[in-house]
Amino acid sequence: MTERNPLTVKPLMDIDKIRKDFPVLHQSVHGKPLVYLDNAATTQKPNSVIEAISEYYRLYNSNIHRGVHQLSQKATDEYEAARQKVQRYLNANSTKEVIFLRGTSEAVNLVMNTYGRTNIKAGDEIIISEMEHHSNIVPWQMLAQQTGAVLRVIPMNDKGELLMEEFKNLLNEKTKFVSVVHASNTLGTENPVKEITGLAHEVGAKVMVDGAQAVQHFKVDVQDIGCDFYAFSGHKLYGPTGVGVLWGREELLIAMPPWQGGGDMILSVTFEKTIYNGLPNKFEAGTPNISGAIGLGHAIDYVTALGIDNIHEHERDLYRYMEQKFLEIQGVSLVGSAAKKGSVFSFTIDGVHPHDVGTILDMEGIAIRTGHMCTQPVMKHFGVPALSRASIGLYNNYEDIDCAAEAIKKAAEFFS
């Protein structure tokens, strides 16, 4: 089935064994074994993550950074250990640069509210791209409306690749901020964020990268990219929901005002004056998602133990197989065919609305995403109201793809 010859090449990952780590995968949906291909929406969690969260609540639940007692000390240590794991995972300079938030959306909102509001003024320009997730559009639109700044958009071609020449033309001395997605959740496109950063820095603009669809698929090194801010969500990296990360350059974070005020983000408070805490606490007001951060730390351990490069290779092989299998089906068209793309297959079937595809696949036990994927400008570009999307995670196997292909064929035939 695969090009890989099992006799001569050792498989990179033992998928059967890996699947045992994910309890959710072992169930029936509508009487059929579950095939989970909605990984771009959220990934399943390995036992080690579930156990770590449960252990926190069973054995040492307590608040962090405040108690002198044993449990609080333990909780603080684990929480801060998770921060260190993130730092290493992204190759950040320091744990001071790693801020725990609710997710990518909150990270964009923080940067918009703090860096944005202090540095972006009327007439300044903010650049995003045509393939952004709504969470990297709406906050910048809000800022533009409130400040009188102008929002500019890097267009893409019909393969779903950003037009870099157009981007260069957009850049000028008024450009203050560029925020782009590392890998598109709808098209799978992997964008040249290092090149984008280099060009943006030439005109003095700061750069934020939305890594929500990147960190779970390939190696990300924020120092190599050279960007100023990087964000991702824990739940798409095999960790829990409600926790995510903003990485930012220390000198920028120091200069930025806090966003939310409250406990933990202060050093001293009187009614006359508050002295803010240092990094990263300045941006973590209130009791954070402690179990979430600890769970995320364990998710990073899990991925690191498998090796992100191995995961990448497995997913790439599987994607190739998926593309080939799905495109053999009469009426199926792929949307998003960038030269450099990840494990997302968005498609249309002639004469069949995605919503109907989703229902038919669901009855076969197959979970895919249907709809606009929170990227309505992408829908507009391709002239479709919605798409169907199958997206791969590290535990998917060739049988998953075969099942999905069979069901898609059924859907196409049923409505033809």
């Binding site: 004469g351 919503h355 109907d356 229902t359 009855m363 919605a386 049923f414 409505f415």
Partner: protein
């Protein structure tokens, strides 16, 4: 294809999806409205020509899944010639049907062609698809010209 799916996608629904009736615009409608389901991108426009309390003509445009499109198609076919009071009753009954609240077999039978949407009640996430055209109709008749949304 299993039984529940066959119940949902009856041949009549497939047929109306492929060949929708009254799929056009009415120039100078007496009432019209736009409906939108942000979850899946379904988008429907309903146009009416009402005189003396009677629906003389009704049509729709837009795009959506098989359920919403066939629902709009069958709705327009069923409502042409009906009075506004009759339309209001059918609006209520249809809603009860797709949400599984209408269980009396005789009552269901009285709905005629509309009764084929009974299968939708087993697919809670698809109820909005079937009812979007009806909500849009309701908005049009009650002079809400702004877009209605299922959310």
């Amino acid at each position: 294809m299993n039984e529940e799916l066959k119940e949902l996608y009856q041949q009549v629904i497939i047929d109306h999806n492929k060949n929708p009736r009254n799929f056009r615009k009415i120039e100078l409608p007496s009432h019209h409205s736009e409906g939108f389901n942000p979850l899946c991108g379904d988008h429907v426009y309903i146009y009416l020509d009402v005189a003396n309390g009677v629906i003389r003509d009704i049509s729709f445009e837009g795009n959506g899944c098989a359920i919403s499109k066939s629902s709009a198609s069958i709705m327009t076919a069923e409502l042409k010639g009906k009075t506004l009071e009759e339309a209001e009753v059918l609006f209520q009954k249809f809603h009860e049907l797709v949400t599984g609240k209408l269980t009396d077999e005789e009552e269901i039978e009285k709905l005629g062609k509309l009764s084929i949407f009974q299968g939708v009640r087993d697919f809670p996430v698809r109820v909005k698809c079937a009812s979007l055209p009806w909500h849009t109709l309701h908005a049009a008749l009650h002079d809400q010209q702004t877009a209605v949304s299922t959310e």
